[in-house]
C-alpha cells in the first residue's frame, strides 16, 4: 500500500513542473498544455485524498475538473486559433498588445 | 525456476494466452486481407488473388514476406522519433484492445487453474477498450504530421478530427447497453443478456440487447456500428487514407513493415469492433436459439463437416498440383474438427460459445467488407455534419429513451 503523501508530493512536483513550464515556454499551445499538467497534478491530489479519507467526493471533483478542462480546451484552443490567425505568431512574447 | 512458476503460474498462463492470441489475431488479420480482396473482387465480378497458392490462399504470406523484405526508405525532413513512434503506437494499441475481449463463457480446467478465454477481464472492460481506442488516434495523426508531407498532414488532420467527432457518438451509443447491464465488464454484459427478460418473454435471440426489452438497442447498434466504422477509418469513412484525394493519406510516406503495422492495426481494430458489436448487442457467445433446442448444439459439426468435405472435393478437382495436395488436407482437418466436436460432447459444449461468437464476428467482418464494396466515400463536410448532427443526437436520444424505458419498467 503506497502512503498517501507519496502521491501528494508527486502531485506537488508535477504542479511545480507545470508552473515552470508555464513560465518558461513561449508557445501559447505549450503554455496551455502546462496548465493542463497543473490540473492533472491537482486531480492526483484529489484522488489521493479521496482514497486516504475513503470518500468518493474527491473523484467527483476530479470528474468536474476534467469537464472544466475539456470546456477550457475547446474555448482556449479557439482563442489560440484566432490569435494565430491575427498575429501570425504563437509566441506569447509577441502577443503583448491589446490591439493590433 | 519451477517453484517460481508454481508461485506465479497466473503470470505464465497470461503470457501463454497472449502469445496464442497474438498468433491467432495476426493470422486472422492476414487472411482477412485475403478474404477482403476476394470478396471485393467478386462484388466487382473479378477473380481477385488466385496466383499464390490455391485460390490465392498463400497471398497473405507472400504479402507478409514482401512487407518484411522491401526497402524501407525514410523520407527527408521527417521528425524521426514521431515517425517511428506512430506505427508502433497504432499497432500496439490496436492489439492491446483485443486483450479485454472474452471469447468464451466457461474456463478450461488445467492443473487446477481456471483458464478463461480472453486475457483479462477488467471490471471496467468496455471503458478500458474505449480508452485504448481513443488513444489509437495518435498513431494516425502523428504519422500524418511527422511525415513532412502535405497529403499526410491532411490525412492526420482528418483522422484526428474524425475520431474525436465519432468517439462521442461511439461512447454514447453504448450507454444504452450499459444502462441495461449495469456493468462495465464485457463478460458481465453478456451474462446480463443471458439473464435478461427477452422481448415478450421469448428466449434465444430475443435475449440479445439488439432485440431485448425494455428498449431494443437497434438505434444504439446502428449508431455504434457506424461510429465504429468511422473510428477504424474504414470505408465509407476512410477519408484519412483516401487514395484518390490524398494518395494514401497518413501512411503515404510509410513503406514496408511500418506500413504493415498500420495495416495490421486497422484490421485488428476491425476485429475488435466486430467483437464489440457482437458482444454488446448480439449476445456475445449466446446461441440465437432457445436452450431447449438441444439439437442446435450440433450446429458446429453440421456446418464444419460438409464444409471440409466440400474443400476436399474442390481440392481434388483443382488445377495445380499444389492445390491438389494442400486443399484436401485442409478440408480433412476441418472435417476432422467437426467430427471431433461430434464425438466429444464436453468439447462440443465448450466450443458452443466461441463458435457463436466467432460466427458473429465473421458476420460483422463480412459486413465491413461488404460496405466497402458497395458504399461511396463521404465528403468531409458530410462526414462532420453526419457525425455531429445525426449520429450524436440519435445516440443521445437512444440513451434517453433507454433510461426512460428502464424507469418505466421500474428496475
Amino acid at each position: 500500500m503506497v502512503p498517501t503523501h507519496y502521491y501528494l508530493i508527486l502531485s506537488a512536483i508535477l504542479f511545480g513542473l507545470g508552473v515552470i513550464a508555464f513560465i518558461f515556454r513561449r508557445n501559447i499551445i505549450t503554455i496551455f498544455m502546462s496548465i493542463e499538467l497543473m490540473l492533472n497534478a491537482v486531480n492526483l491530489a484529489f484522488i489521493a485524498f479521496s482514497r486516504a479519507l475513503n470518500k468518493l467526493d474527491g473523484q467527483v471533483f476530479v470528474l468536474f475538473v476534467i469537464v472544466v478542462a475539456a470546456a477550457e480546451a475547446a474555448v482556449g484552443l479557439g482563442i489560440i486559433i484566432v490569435i494565430a490567425r491575427n498575429r501570425q505568431s504563437l509566441n506569447v512574447e509577441r502577443v503583448d498588445l491589446l490591439k493590433l | 525456476m519451477s517453484d517460481f512458476l508454481a508461485q506465479h503460474a497466473e503470470i505464465l498462463i497470461t503470457l501463454v494466452k497472449i502469445a496464442i492470441l497474438l498468433f491467432v489475431v495476426l493470422t486472422v488479420n492476414a487472411y482477412l486481407t485475403w478474404f477482403e480482396r476476394k470478396l471485393i473482387a467478386h462484388i466487382q465480378s473479378r477473380w481477385g488473388p488466385h496466383r499464390v497458392g490455391p485460390h490465392g490462399l498463400l497471398q497473405p504470406l507472400a504479402d507478409g514476406a514482401k512487407f518484411l523484405l522491401k526497402e524501407d526508405p525514410t523520407p527527408a525532413g521527417v521528425d524521426k522519433f514521431v515517425y517511428y513512434l506512430a506505427p508502433l503506437l497504432a499497432l500496439a494499441l490496436a492489439l492491446t484492445s483485443i486483450a479485454v475481449i472474452p471469447f468464451g463463457p466457461d474456463p478450461l480446467h488445467f492443473k487446477g487453474h481456471d483458464i478463461y478465454l480472453g486475457i483479462v477481464d477488467l471490471n471496467i472492460g468496455i471503458l478500458a477498450l474505449f480508452a485504448i481506442t481513443a488513444l489509437g488516434v495518435y498513431g494516425l495523426a502523428l504519422a500524418g504530421w511527422s511525415s513532412n508531407n502535405k497529403y499526410s498532414l491532411f490525412g492526420g488532420l482528418r483522422s484526428s478530427a474524425q475520431m474525436i467527432s465519432y468517439e462521442l457518438a461511439l461512447t454514447m451509443s453504448v450507454v444504452g447497453v450499459l444502462l441495461m447491464a449495469g456493468k462495465f465488464s464485457l463478460r458481465d454484459i453478456i451474462d446480463a443478456q443471458a439473464n435478461s427478460r427477452g422481448l415478450f418473454g421469448w428466449s434465444g435471440i430475443f435475449h440479445w440487447n439488439i432485440l431485448a426489452g425494455p428498449f431494443p438497442q437497434i438505434l444504439g447498434f446502428l449508431c455504434f456500428f457506424v461510429a465504429a466504422i468511422a473510428e477504424t477509418n474504414r470505408a465509407p469513412f476512410d477519408l484519412p487514407e483516401a487514395e484518390q484525394e490524398l494518395v494514401g493519406g497518413f501512411h503515404t510516406e510509410y513503406a514496408s513493415f511500418k506500413f504493415a503495422m498500420f495495416f495490421i492495426a486497422e484490421y485488428t481494430s476491425m476485429i475488435t469492433v466486430s467483437c464489440l458489436c457482437s458482444i454488446l448487442f448480439f449476445g456475445g457467445w449466446l446461441s440465437p436459439f432457445p436452450a431447449s433446442w438441444t439439437l442446435t448444439t450440433y450446429l458446429p459439426s453440421v456446418l464444419l463437416i460438409p464444409f471440409g468435405l466440400w474443400v476436399i472435393w474442390d481440392g481434388l478437382r483443382y488445377e495445380t498440383i499444389f492445390g491438389k495436395l494442400i486443399l484436401p488436407a485442409v478440408g480433412a482437418v476441418i472435417a476432422a474438427l467437426g467430427a471431433a466436436f461430434l464425438l466429444f460432447p464436453a468439447v462440443n459444449a465448450f466450443i458452443q460459445g466461441p463458435f457463436w461468437l466467432l460466427s458473429k464476428i465473421f458476420t460483422f467482418l463480412f459486413v465491413y467488407v461488404w460496405m466497402r464494396g458497395t458504399l461511396p466515400r463521404f465528403r468531409y463536410d458530410q462526414l462532420m455534419s453526419f457525425g455531429w448532427k445525426l449520429l450524436l443526437p440519435a445516440s443521445l436520444a437512444n440513451v434517453v429513451l433507454t433510461a426512460a424505458a428502464l424507469l418505466w419498467r421500474g428496475n
Partner: protein
C-alpha cells in the same frame, strides 16, 4: 405665560423677514419689501413689549427666566443649547433694540427710497435685528457669541452696502478685521471660563462664580484674565482704544445703518457683555480699573478728535466713540446700571442725531461736509428742532435724557475709590469738549449764512416716514432720562431700582452708605456738569457765530495740534506702519510664497508627480508579457501558501485535510 414660552418668536420674526426679502425680494416692488421688513421688526417689537409685560408679572424666583429650546452642541459634559434668557438687563436691551430698530426701519423706508438694492438693504437690516436679538436674549456665552459674530457680519454687509465704492468695501473689511481681533480675545475668554467653571450658561456660571474670592488688585487671577479677554472683545465691538479705528470709517455705510448699528445697538453690545458679566468683573478689580481707564481715555481721546472733524457723520462717529467710553467708564467704576442707563439714553439721542444728520444729508442731496452747509435751520425746521433736542440731550442739559445718565456716571466715577477724582476730571473735560463740538456741529450746519451753492443744491424737508421717527426719538431723548430724575429729590432712582435684581450682587451701587453720599453729591456735581456744558456752548457760540473767521486763525496758530487732531493722532497711519505693512509683508512673502506655493502647492504637486513617476515605473510590470504575469502569479501563490501552511511546517499538527 404666553410669549415667554415662545421667546424665540422675537428674533425669528426679523429672520423670517430677512429671508423673505433676501430670497424673493429682488422680484418685489419696494412697497412689499418695506412692508415685510418694517412689519417683521414691528411685530417683534410688539412681541417684546408683550414679553416685558408678562415679565413684570413674573415671580422673583423665576428671574432670570430661562427657556431651553434645543441642544445645539454637545461635547462631553459641555452643552451649548439654543437657550434664551430674559431678565431686567435683557428687558432694557430688548426694548431699546426692537424699538429703536423699528423706528430706524421706518426711517430707512424713506431714506433708502431712491437707493439701489432696496431689498438687499432691508434683508441685511432684518438680519442684523435677528442677530442682535439673539445676542441680547442669549442665555449662554456661546449663543451670545453667535449673535456677536452675526451682528459683526451684518455690520460688515451694511457698511459695504454700496460695495462699488472702494472706500465702502475697505471700510467694511476694516470693521470686520478689527472686530476679529477683539473676537479672538472674546473666544479665549470663553475658553478660559469654560475651563474654570465647566459651563458657559450664565445662570450656573455666575452661581458658581459668586462665592469665589475676588482677585486682589493688580494681581492677574483667573477672573482678571478672563475679564480682560472678554473686554478685548468688547473693545473691538464697542470701538474702544485701541480698536476704535473701524467705527469712523464705518460711516461709509448708509446713515440709518450708522444710526442703528454704529450708534444705538451693536456698538453697545460690548457694554452689554461687560454688564452681563458684571459678576466676573466685580471679582476682578484690576480688570475693572482697566475698563474704567480705557473708557475714560477713549472718551477724552475721541472727543478731542471730534473737535476738528468737518464731516458731519464723522463728528457723530467720534462722539459715539466717546459716549461709549462714558459707558465703559461707568462699568469700570461698577456703576453698571448707570452704564446701561446711559446706553439707553445714548441709543435715543445718538440715533436721533444720526437720523437727523441723515435727514440733513438727504436735504443737501448727499453733502456731508459741514463747511458747505449753514443756515439750514429755516429750511428744514423739523430736522433742526429734533437735532437740537438731541444735542441738548447729549451735551447734558437738564432735563434732557443725557443729563441724568451722564450725571450718574460722573457721580459714580467721582465716588469710585481708585483714582476716582482723575476719572471724574477727565469725564468732565470730555463733557466740555462734547458740548463744544456738538454745538459747533449745530452752528456750522444750521446757523450762519449758507456756504453751499443754492442753485445746485435744492434744500427740502424730508418725507414724513423720516420725520416721524425723528420726532418720536426726540420725545424719547427728552423724557428718556426722567425715570432717574427722582434721585434728585431723594426718591430712589427708578432705573437703578429696576435693574437692581440683576446688579444686586455687584453690591457697590446698592450699598446704603454709597446711597447717602450719592444723594449728598448728586446736586453739586450736576450743577458742575451743567456749567461745563454751558461753557462748551459759549465757546462754540463765540467761535462759530460771533467771529466765523476765528477757527481758521486758531488752526493756523496751532497747526501742529490741529493737524494731529485732523489726522486723528495719525493712529491709522501708525497701525498701517506697525501692523498692516508687516502683516502684508508676512502674507506675501511667508504665507503666500513660502507656505502656500512653497509648501502646500509643492506638496500637492509633488504627490501628483510622485504618483505619475510611480505609475511610470510600475507600468513596466504591465508589459503584456504573459510570462512576467505568470511569475507574479507564482509569487502571490508562494506568499499565500506560506501564510496558510506556516503553522503546519511543524510536524505532528493535524487538520490539513479536515
Amino acid at each position: 405665560m404666553g410669549i415667554l414660552n415662545y421667546l424665540w418668536i422675537i428674533p425669528a420674526l426679523p429672520l423670517l423677514g430677512s429671508a423673505l426679502n433676501g430670497l424673493l425680494g429682488s422680484k418685489w416692488p419696494n412697497k412689499i419689501v418695506s412692508v415685510i421688513a418694517v412689519g417683521s421688526t414691528g411685530l417683534s417689537f410688539l412681541a417684546a413689549l408683550e414679553a416685558v409685560r408678562e415679565f413684570t408679572h413674573l415671580a422673583p424666583e423665576n428671574i432670570p427666566w430661562v427657556k431651553q429650546y434645543f441642544t445645539w452642541i454637545v461635547a462631553g459634559d459641555f452643552r451649548a443649547g439654543f437657550d434664551l434668557q430674559i431678565d431686567h438687563l435683557t428687558v432694557v436691551m430688548l426694548l431699546v433694540v426692537t424699538g429703536v430698530g423699528w423706528l430706524i426701519h421706518i426711517y430707512s423706508t424713506g431714506y433708502m427710497a431712491h437707493e439701489g438694492g432696496y431689498y438687499r438693504f432691508f434683508s441685511y437690516l432684518n438680519l442684523f435685528m435677528f442677530f442682535m436679538l439673539i445676542l441680547v436674549l442669549a442665555a449662554n456665552y456661546v449663543l451670545l457669541f453667535v449673535g456677536w459674530e452675526g451682528v459683526g457680519l451684518s455690520s460688515y454687509l451694511l457698511i459695504g452696502f454700496s460695495f462699488l465704492r472702494k472706500s465702502a468695501a475697505d471700510a467694511g473689511k476694516k470693521a470686520f478685521i478689527v472686530n476679529r481681533i477683539g473676537d479672538f480675545g472674546f473666544m479665549l475668554g470663553m475658553f478660559l471660563l469654560f475651563r474654570t467653571f465647566g459651563t458657559l450658561d450664565f445662570v450656573p456660571l455666575f452661581a458658581k462664580a459668586t462665592p469665589m474670592p475676588a482677585d486682589a488688585l493688580g494681581h492677574l487671577g483667573m477672573f482678571t484674565v478672563a475679564c480682560l479677554l472678554l473686554f478685548t472683545g468688547a473693545c473691538g465691538k464697542s470701538a474702544q482704544l485701541p480698536l476704535y479705528v473701524w467705527l469712523p470709517d464705518a460711516m461709509e455705510g448708509p446713515t440709518p445703518v450708522s444710526a442703528l448699528i454704529h450708534a444705538a445697538t451693536m456698538v453697545t453690545a460690548g457694554v452689554y457683555v461687560v454688564a452681563r458679566s458684571h459678576i466676573l468683573f466685580t471679582h476682578a478689580p484690576t480688570a475693572m480699573f482697566v475698563v474704567a481707564i480705557i473708557g475714560c481715555a477713549t472718551a477724552f481721546f475721541a472727543a478731542t478728535i471730534g473737535l476738528v472733524q468737518t464731516d458731519i457723520k464723522r463728528v457723530l462717529a467720534y462722539s459715539t466713540v466717546s459716549q461709549l467710553g462714558y459707558m465703559f467708564l461707568a462699568c469700570g467704576v461698577a456703576a453698571f446700571s448707570a452704564g446701561i442707563f446711559h446706553l439707553m439714553t445714548h441709543a435715543f439721542f445718538k440715533a436721533l442725531l444720526f437720523l437727523a444728520s441723515g435727514s440733513v444729508i438727504h436735504a443737501m442731496g448727499g453733502e456731508q461736509d459741514m463747511q458747505r452747509m449753514g443756515g439750514l435751520s429755516k429750511k428744514i425746521r423739523w430736522t433742526y428742532l429734533t437735532m437740537l433736542t438731541a444735542t441738548l440731550a447729549i451735551t447734558g442739559f437738564p432735563p434732557f435724557a443725557g443729563f441724568f445718565s451722564k450725571d450718574s456716571i460722573l457721580l459714580s466715577a467721582y465716588q469710585s475709590e481708585h483714582g476716582g477724582r482723575i476719572l471724574y476730571a477727565f469725564g468732565l473735560l470730555t463733557a466740555l469738549l462734547t458740548s463744544f463740538y456738538m454745538f459747533r456741529l449745530i452752528f456750522l450746519t444750521f446757523h450762519g449764512k449758507p456756504r453751499y451753492d443754492a442753485h445746485k443744491v435744492h434744500v427740502h424737508e424730508s418725507p414724513k416716514s423720516m420725520l416721524v421717527p425723528l420726532v418720536i426719538l426726540a420725545v424719547l431723548s427728552l423724557i428718556g432720562g426722567w425715570v432717574a430724575a427722582p434721585a434728585f429729590w431723594g426718591a430712589p432712582d427708578y432705573f437703578a431700582k429696576f435693574l437692581e435684581p440683576t446688579f444686586a450682587q455687584s453690591g457697590s451701587s446698592s450699598a446704603e452708605a454709597a446711597e447717602a453720599t450719592a444723594r449728598a453729591l448728586e446736586t453739586p456735581l450736576a450743577i458742575v456738569a451743567v456749567v461745563t456744558a454751558l461753557l462748551g456752548f459759549v465757546v462754540a457760540v463765540w467761535l462759530y457765530l460771533k467771529q466765523p473767521g476765528k477757527p481758521e486763525q486758531l488752526a493756523k496758530s496751532m497747526r501742529g495740534a490741529y493737524n494731529t487732531l485732523l489726522h486723528k493722532y495719525y493712529v491709522d497711519e501708525m497701525y498701517a506702519a506697525l501692523i498692516v505693512k508687516p502683516l502684508l509683508w508676512l502674507s506675501t512673502n511667508v504665507l503666500w510664497q513660502a507656505v502656500d506655493v512653497g509648501t502646500i502647492d509643492a506638496a500637492v504637486n509633488g504627490i501628483a508627480e510622485g504618483a505619475t513617476d510611480l505609475g511610470d515605473g510600475v507600468r513596466h510590470t504591465q508589459s503584456g508579457n504573459t510570462r512576467s504575469y505568470a511569475v507574479w502569479v507564482v509569487i502571490g501563490a508562494l506568499v499565500i501558501i506560506a501564510i496558510i501552511f506556516w503553522p503546519y511546517f511543524r510536524p505532528a499538527t493535524a487538520g490539513m485535510v479536515r
